[in-house]
């Protein structure tokens, strides 16, 4: 169990580094580059969320936490941070919904 989590953490660590390194490549191989910081943050997080695929409940709790962060950042006029919190809320909600859909089709999983 512990080793499995450590393994996933190492994979996430390597993936994050590789993703940011990819952002530095001038002419990427076969595909294009995305320069929008919010989309970059989203794409760097998607595989990690997918790899860990924690329970739907955990994801919903995290989404609510980030939503609160978004609200507070908006109240205190920190739009930049609010934007980032909003995208994280979205990420976790999507992950939670996808897991619920997966459970609908495959209740044993």
């Amino acid at each position: 169990m512990g080793s499995s989590i450590l393994k996933k953490l190492i994979i996430s660590y390597i993936w994050l580094a590789a993703f940011f390194i990819y952002q530095k490549s001038g002419q990427p191989w076969l595909a294009g580059l995305v320069f929008d910081p919010v989309i970059n943050l989203f794409f760097s997080l998607v595989p990690i969320l997918w790899l860990f695929s924690v329970s739907s409940k955990t994801n919903t709790i995290l989404a609510v936490l980030f939503l609160t962060g978004t609200a507070f950042s908006s109240i205190f006029h920190n739009d930049l941070l609010a934007e980032k919190f909003a995208i994280l809320t979205y990420c976790f909600l999507v992950a939670s919904v996808l897991q619920q859909i997966k459970l609908l089709f495959n209740p044993k999983a």
Binding site: S3, L6, K7, I10, I11, Y13, I14, W15, L16, A17, A18, F19, F20, I21, Y22, Q23, K24, S25, G26, Q27, P28, W29, A31, V34, D36, P37, V38, I39, N40, L41, F42, F43, V46, P47, W50, L51, S53, H77, D79, L80, L81, K84
Partner: protein, 363 residues
Amino acid sequence: MIKLTIINQLLLELAKLPVLIISFISVGYFIIINLLNLLLPEMTEKNIVFNIESSDLNKLVILLIFLNALTIFFFIKFKKVKLISVLSLNKKEIIIYGLTSYCLVSFIRQNLSLFVFLKDILSTILFFLIFFLLPQLVNFYSNFRLDYLGMILIKIRNDIKQIELRSINWRGLFIDFVKFIFKKLPYLIIPIFFTVVGLFFLRLIFAKINVYLLHQSFLHKQFLITRIRPKETIIAETVILDGYNFGFKENEFFQLKTSKGSVSGIKDWNNNKVEFVVPLDLPEGKNELWLERTKTASSQSALMKTNKVDLTILSRWDFYPQQKDYQYPPSFLDYFRITVKKLKRIIFFNWGVIQLCGKLINC
């Protein structure tokens, strides 16, 4: 076949530690820089010191791959570590390893000066090499056990205790010691080499952090625009400027300027943000914007200016219907033109959301 003594095992385990520390620190350093760049975009400004040059990063990536590959090779050779087959991995891991290899190859590829065809062949070979190396790397680090090191140390201590001091031939021991040093020198070189490289990296990282902190504190004290949102718009739309020390509009000298004069339609002005409506007289194309304010609330105080940022103004009639689109009786072409403009408008003002959805579908 080489037989491993306890000391050899210990040296090999110790050799693993510096590589792990070097890789962890340098990769962590790079991830933190990029995460900060994402969360605090002002760091991506031109003069930012924390922004690693592409060529430096390339050297770092190649060095890390080389160090890790070398260590894994040593372990496979001396300890007969089992290789991880790609087929034994689960679907998720295979996809993430594939994406990671692709990202790394894309980056290394840019510095290969070869013909496109040769470049593609080499990139494909590199892709499969990294794809094969990644599971070994993850396995190598996830099996790292500090308690194993402790176990070996206890074993060595017990062995030493068993030696009876009286029966020791000191001359023979000295010769044995010299022999041992020469025999073990290749093993000793590995930890020494990695420790020196590790120290070099640590010094480099601390020097960079100091320079960065100084630069950031300098930036926060400046009257500076860090970002304009959006960079492209049409007249009569709202635009936001982010930055530092804008102050709170205290007198008539706090102004937003363009090359065509000052902007009057300011909706909000606070210390870090200025929100304004693009004036109708701003010409289409690239326009320079900057802020001006007095140093203190007094109107007699010295005038300060920010850096200039570019705002591109597009034609309003590309997105909104013109008078000629509303002819009577309206033709099919008129309806079509109005619909196309409406669609263009929706896409233009919601471009971020559409881009995100498109990428999600492609994913």
